[in-house]
């Protein structure tokens, strides 16, 4: 059930020049949230910023009762968030959205290809954790602007996920974008279910690639949101055949063929 929680900040740590990881003590949420779902964070109690900030659940430890958010400082809200310190608390609404559809447990022969562009890495760690727990063989393909922007690879490797990287400037891994990285990987005849999150142009290119290879894919999308609850009808994405879907309630995760990017 969607609820409002005052979550104590356990840690708010800078991982890269503009990327932070926020760890929250919020047991009731940690026990029900699924990979791909998000929360609406009220960063301050002022009217500036006014709206809440939607952030994906990056990681979750149901036993410890904690969740982690991974965020990029891009504007007022995210910068304000980076100034909060342990001991303080933030109000969050969640769990919101549908989350990724996971394959049935122990479905042998299932391969998962996680594809992240930039901060699109955020929802994929929690997903990887659950896939690995289901014994799904999981690989991460991760692209960012520079080596410094590639964050949290260790956490994936600790789960036993194979990681391949690329950067726009070639400072780490292949020089190029993550869709090219995936195309190269698929050339060997490899296949798998694709789970992706990243900027829209990346997802658009990825959509073409997975269609040409006949792979199933789920995309976690972003849209500018006001409520996150299905009430304002602000967060739309076009769907094939006309009309719109609502990213906060119908998504944020969509099957690749459900959306016009």
């Amino acid at each position: 059930m969607i609820s409002s929680y005052d979550a104590a900040i356990l840690e708010n740590q800078q991982l890269a020049p503009s990327i932070w990881r926020l760890q929250l003590d919020v047991a009731a949420l940690a026990q029900q949230v699924r990979p791909g779902q998000f929360v609406q964070v009220r960063v301050t109690n002022t009217y500036d910023p006014f709206l809440r900030t939607p952030l994906s659940v990056h990681d979750c430890d149901a036993k410890a009762g904690t969740i982690a958010l991974l965020y990029q400082t891009v504007g007022t809200s995210t910068h304000a968030l980076s100034r909060l310190r342990p001991g303080a608390s933030v109000n969050i609404l969640g769990p919101l959205g549908n989350g990724f559809t996971l394959p049935p447990a122990r479905s042998n022969g299932n391969f998962a290809l996680l594809v992240a562009g930039g901060i699109g890495i955020a929802p994929l760690l929690f997903l990887a954790r659950e896939l690995v727990a289901k014994k799904v063989s999981t690989r991460l393909l991760y692209g960012a602007r520079t080596a410094a922007d590639l964050t949290g690879i260790d956490a994936f490797e600790q789960l036993g996920v194979a990681v391949a990287c690329c950067t726009d400037d070639g400072s780490q891994g292949l020089k190029g974008n993550v869709v090219d990285l995936l195309a190269g990987y698929l050339q060997s005849g490899a296949a798998g279910d694709v789970y992706a999150c990243g900027p829209t142009p990346m997802l658009r290119a990825l959509q073409q690639l997975v269609r040409s290879k006949g792979l199933a894919a789920q995309f976690s999308l972003e849209a500018y949101m006001a409520c996150g609850l299905g009430a304002c009808l602000g967060c739309v994405v076009a769907v094939p055949g006309g009309g719109y879907a609502h990213v906060c309630t119908d998504g944020p995760v969509f099957k690749e063929r459900e959306v016009e990017l």
Binding site: R42, F50, R52, A226, L229, A231, C232
Partner: protein, 304 residues
């Protein structure tokens, strides 16, 4: 709280307290069920409803602005038939005081809509002649005294339910529009709808909203809304419902003091989904603290 009487009568619409949720900001109420008892609210004004389903405007549809937000939803809604089949039975079984916000492109459309909405479970109609986000109709009706008179008097002939006329702030003299609606038979007025606004990205030199312009709401518009509610309350005899930037009980009380018999909570629902419930409690607490027993003692009590 049992000692204070929060009941108000809005042109024949009996409310258990003066706190309603504003159209387009609270869905059909169902979306907020996990945050509180919908039945404890004065009422829920549902999303603007049209005869036919509408897909709404292209994205981007919302953007934050200083102490507020712009929206250009464009009246996305599943149409009146779907509302009657799908949402009304749920609202009825929950006992929610349901007010339907109606939008149309022509007087005939408004009348047909009003007729279709004469249903058990609907407590009142709110005539939206003030939506800035649709090309035909919408705000065009609400900015001309002659059109306001025509649409209000015609809809009254097709409806037995209390009719609340929702006014646009995008006019030169809101008191005259209010008087035109009153003369044509409106049972109550609600104001304000959003102020027409715009946001631009200087880096890309493009408008941020897909529709280019949109409606401004939130705390940024409260002073304008308060002034208009005060002016209109003085200009008409029928009850006035105050809307615009109400975030807290203090905000709501200011509107009531300026002459509003009830208020609607809008964009605040996005920021704090329990806002409407908190405002009810806050109003009751204020009355008690000030030795009042009835909300009606406060309505229009502004001292100048």
């Amino acid at each position: 709280m049992s000692t204070v009487d929060l009941r108000v009568n809005i042109g024949g619409l009996q409310l258990k307290n003066p706190v309603l949720t504003a159209s387009g900001t609270f869905g059909y109420g169902i979306e907020f069920q996990s945050f509180g008892d919908l039945n404890a609210l004065g009422g829920v004004v549902v999303k603007g409803t049209t005869l036919e389903p509408r897909a709404g405007n292209p994205p981007q549809r919302v953007v934050e602005t200083a102490a507020g937000m712009l929206n250009s939803i464009g009246l996305e809604n599943p149409g009146v038939d779907y509302f009657l089949e799908h949402y009304l039975p749920q609202l009825r079984s929950l006992g929610v005081t349901t007010i339907v916000n109606m939008a149309g492109n022509s007087v005939a459309e408004y009348c047909e809509l009003a007729e279709r909405l004469q249903q058990p479970g609907i407590a009142a109609l709110e005539l939206n002649i003030s939506c800035p986000n649709v090309k035909a109709g919408g705000m065009a009706f609400g900015t001309s005294e002659k059109l306001v008179e025509e649409v209000v008097s015609q809809v009254k002939e097709h409806s037995r339910l209390p009719l609340i006329v929702k006014l646009s702030p995008n006019v030169t003299d809101i008191a005259r529009i209010a008087q035109a609606a009153e003369a044509a038979g409106a049972d109550a007025l609600s104001l304000i709808n959003t102020l027409l606004g715009m946001a631009v990205d200087h880096r890309t030199r493009r408008p941020i909203l897909g529709n280019v312009v949109g409606g401004l709401s939130g705390p940024a518009i409260k002073p304008v809304a308060l002034r208009m509610v005060w002016q209109v309350a003085q200009a008409v005899q029928i009850p006035v419902i105050g809307i615009g930037g109400i975030m807290t009980a203090a905000d709501a009380l200011e509107f009531i003091i300026c002459g509003a018999s009830a208020i609607q909570v809008g964009a605040a629902n996005f920021v704090e989904p329990v806002a409407a419930w908190q405002i009810i409690d806050g109003i009751a607490a204020y009355l008690k603290e000030n030795g009042m027993t009835d909300i009606k003692q406060l309505i229009g009590s502004l001292e100048i």
